[in-house]
């Protein structure tokens, strides 16, 4: 270990400065789950971002804003209401064990993409935006863009995630999250989120998958196949489209299980999540 300084800045600006000046030898630390056990040898300065006041969950009429240093437990306790809020809570529930959830941050979860990264699929179907602070101020990146390549590599020197913005839309009618792993709080084999939106009479299904694949991503081909269908007709259409969709997935290596099985599993949990979301729409109608 070659950590020479552990700094706890009090402002975003100060943190940004430390990271910029560190010229690649400074790294952001929040929960510590990925960095603490074995920091890369090039890292000399750790910039702790947990004292920047970024540990909030703010709910307004238009959005749910989550500070990057908000812990998973913090998100669960804030329990933001509404379909989007409930989806976030569902995805956050089984990240690690209780002491882990008290340190793992929402920002860390989406940046490090450790196998416990269950939030990205939820953020993808909610079309969330990731706020990144950098030398030239802040920029907002759509989740889909953010996860297109490994986020750590995307962040430029001096940059770090400060906030996740989940915009509220009345179009969102139902959502569901599914995850499967070997035990109750394992790294998943695959996880999936589905959201159903309605604009006028037109329905849209969004589905995102992670765990089985290297990066969390929306399942564009599936979404296309479901576009314009009523929720009731979606499961059948999904069953027809999924074999083709999962066939084209790039399954990442996992020492615990065979790739082909995980490919199939991915299809199964998409079906399950879609069925759950559809059930929520039709359940509501009955009331």
């Amino acid at each position: 270990m070659s950590i020479e300084a552990y700094v706890i800045p009090r402002t975003v600006k100060e943190a940004r400065g430390l990271l910029t000046r560190g010229k690649g030898t400074a790294a952001v630390i929040a929960g510590g789950f990925s960095l603490a056990p074995n920091p890369p040898s090039r890292i000399k300065t750790l910039v702790d971002i947990t004292a920047l006041g970024l540990d909030y969950v703010r709910v307004s009429k238009s959005a749910i804003r989550i500070g990057a240093a908000c812990t998973v437990a913090g998100l669960l306790e804030a329990a933001p209401a509404g379909i989007a809020g409930r989806l976030l809570v569902q995805a956050a529930r089984d990240i690690g064990g209780t002491p882990n959830r008290n340190v793992i941050t929402v920002g860390g979860n989406i940046v490090q993409l450790l196998p416990w990264a269950d939030l990205p699929v939820a953020l993808l179907v909610l079309d969330a935006k990731i706020k990144i602070a950098g030398a030239r101020g802040a920029r907002l990146v759509r989740a889909e863009e953010f996860f297109r390549s490994p986020p750590l590599r995307q962040l430029r020197r001096g940059e770090f995630v400060t906030e996740i913005v989940v915009g509220k839309t009345g179009a969102l009618k139902a959502a569901a999250f599914e995850k499967i792993g070997p035990s109750a709080n394992s790294y998943c084999f695959a996880d999936c989120a589905v959201a159903l939106l309605r604009r006028g009479n037109s329905w849209e299904a969004r589905a995102a998958l992670s765990g089985a694949t290297a990066l969390p991503a929306r399942l564009g081909a599936l979404e296309k196949a479901l576009k314009g269908l009523t929720p009731a007709r979606m499961p059948a259409a999904a069953a027809a489209a999924l074999p083709g969709v999962i066939k084209s997935l790039k399954i990442r290596p996992d020492i615990r299980a065979d790739a082909e099985w995980r490919r199939e599993l991915a299809g199964e949990i998409v079906k399950t999540a879609l069925a759950a979301a559809v059930g929520r729409v039709s359940g509501k109608k009955k009331k």
């Binding site: 709080n185 615990r256 099985w261």
Partner: protein, 784 residues
């Protein structure tokens, strides 16, 4: 929940036995004050780190430690050149050990990825690890054996080609063929068995590598005391074996070694191994300084001991009426790179399951082979876990084949009180076994109560209609209690002047509760409370010999030694009281911390404190103290019937254990709560092994999932509804009727869950763990 079959005598007969007093070491443990090895920090403590082989099989051609030695803070580097070349076994077993002598403190050959190549002691752990990285090794990489089925093939690489490899008992050991142990037994006529059977089933079953996962990793601290003796603070199940093995390995007389067992953070067999003590001690001898060697979790996974994987071929014959005509059990066991417990574990795979079923024709054949993979060792269940799975599943297959309810099938076939099995005499621990008949069995009651609790009649065969199916399954089990004519235990009890006692035992409480249980046994005899004992375990200088915590022996065997010592002390107490009261011993009784003449109003009594003071200070002065030791002539089996209720998701293949019932006959439980705790801990460990625990290797033999992230053990959220039923019986040879309880229940979950899955979805899971992947594949094959 405790139930007694025969409106007991048992439950009410005892004052202390069968109750659940708070553990004697409990207050220290629950307040974090208890001293584990890592909590001892003598001045000048050095920290050790180990260089481990990256190759599965390699000879060390050259090793250069000069850069490591030059690093500031490094106090010693040991390679194979720096330690005595004495061969021994790391298996913490009685001398002469039934495991082959095939290990050195550090060898010039590495036999698995993670084998010891060199060791460093430095001022800090960080420096020690840095120094390890500076040692330059030139390896001659050898072809490895990574598949036990290929170990004995002609031309296979010889793993133990060292000339010193040998056995110290007359056992079948053929290192040139990578055979670490072999045993076979034939009883009756197998051909006849198949001829007379209506159903003959043959199948292959397997169990994987698994790690004990004691939460305290392996740790040792060694130092030289003011007299220059080597003192080892150990987290061990076997302090006396550790003393002997370390002394032999390092050319020291036993008298120059003292092993002190502190609180031990779990063992489960993993610490029945003398694995790190000799290495740490060698660093202390080299530096003259205290040294701590503390395994990382990764080292625990890769380089400590594991459950031996087995490939089991089983053939059984059954008549339509349910009678078992024959059992042919053939096992290929992978002992890994060293032969720790190689013969005895696989022997137990026969001896701890075959007597369970009434059957006249039995064949048992087992090879234990070396491979260049992690090393097997003792692991709770000790071979019975593996074979109980195969036999437990195939008996369920047989019941299905003849159209009989498995409950009925097991009820009619299990061994009963007064019956014997030829297996008892035929299979021992490296030697022949000991003939015995069953002195106590509550198995019939276990089956009855367990079936009722799980709801067997109402749930069996009702799968449900959705994609998630339900099923129930069962299995019956046995184990042993101690190793007859081999194990030995001693105990010393001493009276103090306030009427309290010291109880000193070599038996090792590693979380098993034995300090408390042994105090309860002594308290029962001496008419006092459990809390009146100051229990000390274990210290090779101060406590009598005991083989240690293994083979389900402590309650049964050490318990008898304690009981005998307590009776001797009681005799001495009565003699002194007789002198004080001027009454014959025969007219006196010891109860309630005092000795009184028998009968109401028969005269004045004397308290234990008065007796102690009298004997220490007044007249005919002496210390009231007694020691006793015991061996056993039998290994009375505890019995159990386990029941599992599962849900199987046919879409994902995921199994969920909904409810689990363990009905156990452990004789008279000494501490009811601790006996339940042993059962519950074993069951949950077994559920982990059933569903997700296994080692995953690279193609070059490197363990890939050497952490708790990728090797999951159950957490509180994986716990099903779990019911323990203790069926009380009275074992005539046990202390107050006790038998063992700690191991048996780990054997149940694999077969019970597999059988429940069959009930739910009609597939047979013969290879553990039952990952969703395997379940889904089997479902697909069934659908065709």
């Amino acid at each position: 929940m405790t139930v007694s079959p025969k409106k007991t005598r048992a439950a009410s007969k005892y004052r202390v036995v069968g109750t659940s007093p708070v553990k004697v070491d409990g207050p220290a443990l629950v307040t974090g004050r208890a001293v584990f090895v890592d909590d001892v920090e003598p001045d000048g403590l050095l920290h050790a780190a180990v260089l481990r082989s990256p190759h599965a099989h390699a000879r060390i051609k050259k090793i250069d430690a000069s850069a490591a030695e030059a690093l500031p803070g490094v106090k010693a580097v040991l390679t194979h050149k720096d330690v005595p070349r004495n061969i021994f076994t790391t298996a913490g077993q009685n001398y002469p050990e039934p495991s082959p002598y095939d290990s050195f403190v550090i060898d010039r050959k590495a036999r698995f990825v993670g084998d010891v190549v060199a060791a460093v002691a430095a001022e800090t752990e960080k420096i020690a690890r840095q120094a390890v990285g500076l040692i330059k090794v030139e390896y001659e990489v050898l072809p490895p054996v990574l598949d036990p089925r290929l170990a004995q093939k002609k031309g296979a690489p010889v793993i133990h080609d060292e000339k010193e490899a040998r056995v110290v008992l007359p056992i079948d050991y053929r290192p040139k063929q990578n055979l670490a142990g072999h045993v076979d037994v034939v009883i009756g006529d197998l051909n006849k068995a198949w001829r007379t059977a209506d159903s003959v089933i043959e199948g292959e079953y397997s169990t994987p590598y698994a790690s004990h996962c004691a939460i305290e990793p392996h740790i040792t601290l060694s130092l030289l005391d003011p007299a220059g003796r080597l003192v080892i603070y150990a987290s061990t199940q076997v302090p006396f074996h550790a003393r002997r093995i370390v002394a032999n390995a390092l050319n020291l007389p036993v008298s120059r070694v003292r092993v002190i067992k502190l609180r031990t953070g779990g063992g489960f067999g993993g610490k029945q191994e003398v694995l790190i003590e000799q290495l740490c001690a060698a660093l202390t001898l080299k530096t003259g300084r205290p040294v701590q060697l503390f395994f990382t979790r990764e080292e625990v996974f890769t380089s400590s001991r594991t459950r031996h994987p087995q490939i089991i071929n089983l053939k059984t014959g059954v008549k339509k009426n349910g009678n078992v005509t024959g059992i042919d059990l053939r096992i290929l066991m992978n002992t890994g790179a060293y032969g720790a417990h190689a013969l005895t574990v696989v022997s137990n795979s026969g001896s701890k399951i075959l007597p369970l079923y009434r059957c006249d024709n039995i064949k048992f054949w087992a090879d234990s082979v070396y491979t260049n993979l992690p090393v097997g060792g003792a692991y709770r269940g000790y071979g019975a876990t593996q074979s109980s799975f195969a036999v437990g599943v195939q008996m369920d297959e047989q019941a299905h084949a003849i159209g009989m309810d498995p409950l009925k099938f097991h009820q009619r076939n299990h061994i009963r009180e007064g019956e014997t099995s030829p297996i008892f005499a035929a299979l021992g621990e490296g030697t022949e076994g000991v003939e015995q008949s069953i002195g106590s069995s509550g198995l019939a009651e276990c089956i009855k109560r367990g079936a009722k609790e799980i709801g067997w009649k109402s749930k069996r065969g009702r799968r449900g209609s959705g994609p998630v199916k339900r099923g129930v399954g069962m299995v019956i089990l046995m184990q042993g209690s101690s190793i007859p004519y081999i194990d030995m235990a001693g105990a010393t009890i001493k009276l103090n002047e306030d009427g309290s006692f010291n109880l000193m035992v070599g038996a090792t409480d590693i979380g098993t509760g034995s300090d408390t249980i042994l105090a309860q046994i002594a308290a029962e005899v001496l008419g006092v409370k459990t809390g009146d004992f100051i229990v000390y375990s274990s210290d090779t200088d101060l406590t009598p010999f005991d083989v240690g915590a293994y083979a389900s022996s402590t309650t049964y065997l050490t318990g008898m030694a304690v009981l005998t010592a307590a009776e001797k002390v009681k005799g001495q107490i009565l003699e002194v009281a007789s002198e004080m009261l001027n009454k014959p011993v025969s007219s006196l009784e010891l109860a309630g911390k005092k000795v009184s003449p028998r009968g109401k109003g028969a005269g004045k009594s004397v308290t234990l404190a008065e007796i102690a003071n009298y004997s220490l200070y007044v007249k005919n002065q002496k210390q009231i103290i007694a020691s006793a030791s015991r061996t056993s002539e039998k290994s009375p089996p505890p019995f159990a019937a386990h029941f599992a209720e599962v849900e199987v998701d046919t879409r994902t293949g995921r199994i969920k254990v909904v409810k689990y019932v363990a009905a156990v006959d452990c004789g008279q439980p000494i501490n009811t709560q601790q006996a339940e705790g042993q059962t519950e801990g074993a069951v949950v460990n077994g559920i982990g092994m059933s569903l997700f625990e296994e080692f995953r290797f690279s193609s070059t033999g490197k363990l890939l999932n050497s952490n708790f992230g990728f090797y999951k053990i159950p957490s509180a959220r994986d716990l099903p509804e779990l019911k323990t039923i203790l069926v009380v019986t009275d074992e005539p040879t046990g202390p107050f009727g006790a038998k063992s309880v700690s191991e048996i229940s780990i054997n149940g979950p694999m077969p019970a869950i597999s059988n429940a899955v069959f009930d739910a979805v009609g597939i047979r899971l013969r290879h553990a763990p039952f990952t969703p992947e395997k379940v889904l594949r089997a479902l697909r094959e069934k659908r065709g």
